[in-house]
């Protein structure tokens, strides 16, 4: 086990370093003279130089990279060029929208996918089982933002039950904030649920074909009892892996859904700052998201090792 953990940790650190270099090169390499772009066309050469000096943009790229990473490790995410706000403060204020959105979307997706996938795996011959499979096939083809637009058309414009967009702060109006999140969460959850249903279905199918389930059936259990007492525990492992991998997808969906419903979340902040060439803000925020996703994958891997001895003993 310690070797397994060490190997996973080493890979995690390597992955974070590789990703940070890629992000840095991507944003800086293509950006041109950052200070000139930030200040706009009318800026004087002196102002541009002053800004470049103030933020150390005139130093060699390698120095800037290590400076950025060094500060990141100490928890200093840098500051915005324009407003001088600290990136950490910016991020934290946006997380109060993005985290509830992401987590509730994931939970809703799982609440849909686990029963639906299990049912359609067990009863693929029944009409309802076939319907579930069909709906999940169609759901995978629906872009999450179109789902959002349709839901806001129906429940926002036509019926007027829920807001079509916008945001009131949690402490200003708690239920108002909840109402603003209902449609975005449903859009995310439905679409995520559709694709997770397929994975759950194939994981359950796989498990139900195993010898231990056949043995359990032979002892007189019904198919459902065998699944609940023996099968689900085994199907949980591949499902957990898929959920870990879907986190990256989920964050992509959140980016779009925040735009559909004009929620001032983390991804809208990234979009706005990309347009404004706030390279430090974009760089640090994107890096935070990547570290977060990789951390989740690390945790899933470690859990996998705990739950399934075969994994950690392999190789």
């Amino acid at each position: 086990m310690p070797i397994y953990i060490a190997r996973k940790l080493a890979f995690f650190i390597l992955a974070v370093i590789a990703a940070s270099i890629a992000i840095f090169l991507l944003i800086r390499g293509a950006g041109g003279n950052v200070a000139a772009v930030v200040l706009g066309k009318d800026a004087t050469a002196e102002a541009i130089n002053a800004l470049a000096q103030q933020y150390g943009l005139d130093r060699p790229m390698v120095v800037q990279y290590f400076d950025w990473i060094g500060k990141l490790l100490q928890g200093d995410l840098g500051r915005s060029f324009r407003t001088n706000e600290s990136v950490a403060d910016l991020v934290v204020s946006r997380l109060s929208i993005s985290i509830p959105l992401c987590v509730s979307g994931l939970v809703l997706g799982l609440l849909i996918a686990i029963p639906a996938g299990t049912y359609s795996a067990l009863y693929s011959d029944r009409p309802l089982g076939a319907l579930v499979a069909l709906l999940s096939q169609v759901g995978i083809a629906v872009p999450v933002f179109w789902a959002g637009i349709l839901l806001s058309l129906l429940f926002g414009v036509r019926l007027g039950w829920l807001p079509t967009g916008g945001w009131t702060n949690w402490d200003a109006n708690f239920w108002g904030a909840v109402r603003s999140l209902v449609l975005p969460v449903i859009s995310l959850g439905l679409i995520l649920g559709a694709s997770l249903t397929r994975y759950v279905r194939s994981a359950v199918l796989d498990v139900m074909n195993q010898d231990y389930v056949r043995t359990a059936r032979a002892t007189g259990m019904t198919q459902m009892q065998a699944l609940l007492q023996v099968g689900l525990r085994n199907a949980a492992l591949p499902i957990a892996t898929v959920v870990g991998l879907q986190i990256a997808e989920l964050i992509g969906g959140t980016v779009i859904i925040e735009t559909v419903f004009s929620l001032p979340g983390l991804s809208r902040m990234i979009l706005a700052n990309v347009a404004a060439r706030e390279v430090i803000v974009v760089q640090s925020t994107v890096m935070l998201i990547i570290i977060f996703v990789m951390l989740i994958n690390l945790i899933v891997d470690l859990l996998y090792g705990v739950l399934d001895p075969r994994v950690r003993l392999a190789r």
Binding site: F11, L14, A15, A18, A19, A22, I23, L26, I27, A30, G31, Q137, V138, I140, A141, V142, P143, V144, F145, W146, I149, L150, S152, L153, V157, T164, S202, L205, D206, N209, Q210, D211, R214, L245, A248, E249, I251, G252, G253, V255, I256, T259, V260, S267, I270, L271, V274, A275, V282, V286, I289, I290, V293, M294, N297
Partner: protein
């Protein structure tokens, strides 16, 4: 892995039903995909109207208005013509991204399978790292830094699709390289590149085709998302995602505007996914049995 003795052959009625369902899936997939490609190509030869020239007197006409099959948008531009040009974008970006990923992924996947432990570890871990980077976030950063447009979108998508092509092709190639005919070829003294091209490649072709089809669909979905955010394709090019963005600003006034491009995306992506699933059943029976 179930052994032959424990996996009972499906009852004849069941096998027939499965085969019938498989044929239906494949047929629907082929029909939708063919229609989509035909419409995209036809848009180069004929368009009912210029999709970019506004005609304010004809604005927001409903579907079925004379001369406008699906009506017009807020500036009086013909919806159907816009959808046709949008199909062109989806075809270009979806197929382009899937093709680049296929080429790079095949080279990387075959190399990982054939050139020893170190190469394999480097390529596989590299692919793992790329897979854990959220594609959407990075694609929009990429689009914004090097400028939006169809080409940028294709490159961004290729970067995020390639690792999964690499993984899938690597594992397919690995199982082929254990086969007797590959070992025989090696003992016969054939060079590695020859074995890869002559023996391994044809045997992973099925996996490659399926993967291409499924990521063609994924490419269309992602492109629509990026264009909806305004960092993908922009006018005078037209994308279904961009049309939805424009429609949403009119949503209170004219909801049909938000229907057509969305429906187009769903139908085409569904068609390609069905085609991919159907092809997998035909080309790769081993995999199909597990996921059916």
């Amino acid at each position: 892995m179930t052994s032959l003795a424990t996996a009972p052959a499906p009852a004849p009625a069941r096998a027939t039903r499965r085969r019938r369902r498989r044929n239906l899936t494949l047929t629907i997939g082929i029909v939708i995909t063919a229609a989509f490609i035909t419409i995209a190509l036809a848009s180069f030869l004929y368009l009912p109207h210029n999709p970019n020239i506004p005609r304010i007197p004809d604005r927001l006409l409903p579907a079925g208005s004379p001369g406008y099959l699906l009506g017009t948008d807020a500036l009086g531009r013909d919806i159907f013509s816009q959808l046709m040009v949008g199909a062109r974008t989806s075809l270009l970006v979806g197929a382009g991204a899937a093709l680049i990923s296929l080429l790079v992924g095949t080279v990387a996947g075959l190399s990982a399978a054939a050139f020893g432990r170190l190469t394999d570890e480097t390529i596989s871990r590299g692919a793992d790292i790329m897979l854990s980077i959220p594609g959407m976030v990075t694609a929009l950063v990429l689009a914004a830094t090097i400028g939006s447009g169809a080409l940028t979108t294709i490159l961004a998508l290729s970067a995020f699709f390639t690792p999964s092509f690499t993984r899938v092709i690597r594992s397919a190639a690995l199982s082929v390289t254990q086969e007797d005919f590959v070992i025989a070829a090696r003992l016969y003294g054939r060079p590695t590149w020859f074995i890869l091209l002559r023996h391994v490649l044809p045997n992973v072709a099925g996996v490659m085709i399926v993967q291409f089809t499924l990521y063609f669909a994924a490419g269309i979905l992602t492109e629509a998302g990026l264009s909806y955010l305004g960092v993908g394709v922009t006018r005078p090019s037209i994308s279904w995602g961009m049309m939805l963005n424009e429609a949403q600003q009119q949503v209170g006034i004219s909801s049909p505007l938000a229907m057509w491009p969305g429906l187009a995306i769903v139908i085409v992506v569904l068609g390609l996914n069905l085609l991919g699933d159907g092809l997998r059943d035909v080309l790769d029976p081993k995999l199909a049995r597990r996921s059916s």
